[in-house]
Symmetry: C2
Subunit: 361 residues, 2 copies
């Protein structure tokens, strides 16, 4: 790798002038500038980010930690962030926490050594604690929220989305609506859960804890939870399911199939977060859609704005709307027939193996 010394030598100037010609064009005479630029081009000079970062303290780098890069929602967030960062001449370093606070911690430590100027984080339950160790790093919490008092956050309207989904099912005539909800120490999960409960109450329906099962955001959890709910005796079994995230929705659909329940005739399903899978499965899935790419872009721009104008009071919280997209996985409940002679659930071993992702650590 040619250094700025090589460029300077070839252009017959000092390194100082060479440096200025490249980054402060107006401080140097036109003819010298051209000489330097030409030399740089000729050598294929590329400034050494390490040296520059060391000297300036500015790395033009931001860190990004998502919880699951294989989840299309998170991949889209990441892409939105990277595209936006790129437009502003920043580089985004992407890490993965796999929903594991310990891994998140390690990612943070690694990142810190690279002196990022800011951090965009989809927090795990440990994040609040971890962030205490780095009080002067500007952080944007994305999608979820740690609850730190004056955090900057970019989220979606989980409450509105959860309410819309639940109301939709109620309006179709469902009265036993089950929910598969994420970990209760994750803000999005509790918000969606609360919205579901509130919507039931508002409609005069009772909230039945037996119809609400927790999962850990992954497909398997959705499968297991749905299996349990759908195997309840016919007069307790929910006729509709609201599932709290996209991965678990896949599991729930597979569980319904495994039990030979037809969607939407025997079971209505609303998922959270749209995806190609949701659009193209049969039947196409009714979902609460989130503007994932935009979330990423907003988070990045918000962070960069904070970085440049540290005094300037830019908004600390951005919330984007959700959209209920009606497709064909929801319908009025079936008229109660006698002995909803569903297949014996205990005998029904999953004919469709829930697809597991690559090995999780």
């Amino acid at each position: 790798m040619p250094s700025i010394q090589d460029v300077a030598q070839l252009a017959q100037v000092s390194t100082a002038t060479a440096s200025r010609a490249l980054s402060r064009p107006d401080m140097v005479a036109q003819t010298t500038r051209e000489r330097v630029l030409k030399a740089a081009r000729q050598l294929g000079y590329q400034p050494n980010v390490l040296a520059r970062g060391l000297r300036q303290g500015e790395t033009r780098t931001i860190g990004v930690i998502v919880t699951d890069i294989l989840n299309p929602f998170h991949a889209t967030l990441a892409k939105g962030i990277q595209d936006a960062a790129d437009r502003h001449g920043y580089v985004a370093f992407l890490f993965n926490s796999d929903e594991d606070p310990a891994k998140e911690r390690r990612a943070l430590d690694t990142l810190r050594g690279h002196l990022p100027q800011g951090l965009i984080l989809v927090p795990t339950s440990g994040a609040r604690e971890h962030l205490k160790a780095m009080p002067d790093l500007p952080v944007v919490e994305l999608d979820r929220v740690t609850g730190r008092p004056d955090a900057t956050t970019v989220t979606t309207d989980n409450t509105g989305g959860g309410a819309a989904a639940t109301r939709h099912l109620i309006e179709l005539g469902h009265t036993r609506i089950g929910m598969i909800v994420g970990q209760q120490d994750i803000s999005t999960a509790t918000e969606r859960h609360d919205a579901y409960r509130a919507a039931l109450h508002a409609a005069g329906l009772t909230y039945d804890p037996a119809l609400v099962l927790p999962g850990n955001h992954r497909e398997d959890d959705g499968y297991r939870a749905a299996m349990h709910l759908l195997s309840l005796p016919a007069d307790h079994r929910p006729t509709a399911l609201f599932v709290g995230n996209n991965e678990m929705t896949v599991g729930a659909v597979l569980a319904a199939r495994a039990l030979s329940l037809r969607i939407p005739e025997d079971l209505s399903i609303v998922g959270f977060d749209d995806s190609r899978w949701a659009q193209t499965m049969t039947p196409p899935l009714t979902v609460v859609a989130q503007p994932a790419y935009d979330l990423g872009v907003q988070a990045c721009e918000l962070l960069l704005r904070r970085l440049s104008a540290s005094g300037n009071r830019t908004p600390a919280r951005v919330q984007l709307p959700t959209t209920l997209i009606l497709r064909h996985s929801t319908a009025p409940p079936a008229r109660p027939r006698s002995g909803a002679s569903g297949p014996d659930p205990s005998a029904a071993h999953p004919p469709v193996t829930p697809s597991t992702g690559p090995p999780r650590a």
Copy 2:
């Protein structure tokens, strides 16, 4: 951020000793070492990667460029790489080229400034040219291949996979087998294409160029190409389709649905690359599966091995096998009837039958 100076001061030693206590534990007396370690812990010291990298020339960093992070195949590659890098104490910087040579070029330049010790690249068509500018950077070409004479590569057996897919369709009795193939300047696309042609010839079938349409790897392209092929007059229309990558397969399936063609009764489809979508769509898709996660891991380990033992002749080319996974999107061709006026496919719920994926590592 505390520096090693702060640590040294607190531990009452010189920076040299502090540095040694941290990275050459055996060069320093036990009592001092403990003092330094304690000071470091107390201050939350995290070595400045920039300074270290600058001094040592070693950044313990590798660059990764994939062509589409939103494609689950590529996301899985990236995850495999990052997990493997992490295990070896390396950090992987992930970039996206969006199949665009110009973007790839920019990513390479940016990357270069960060002095990565190696690069893992899913090359675009411009890569061969771009890499000339950086002759001393160790590169592993992943999934695709640029054709540079002594490149290190990690790929899958596209030829075997393409042959298996085509043979499978031939054995079912198909004689008009269409193919939707990727850009012909991408190695995977030509290999799969060649394998398809060879398999036809081996079976005594003629290769009909009219049944082979190119696409640019994205869903839209698959949709358009399939639309075209499936709109041919009934006696020219292919009864089976072999689609050259996962994204285009989605498009092809949607096109078939749009034309109310039942799969597999009216049209058999084999895709390349497995995915959750392929596993859970109706009917579950027959595919040529690739070990994506493993590809990433292998690429990373190969690169790191090359880095450490530069003299040592480690293998330059790794090829992993593909697996033809039979599901339910393929069947013998329909007896030639007139008019494809099948029932509305959206009403048809084919029985869900076991569709176990390949054993995942």
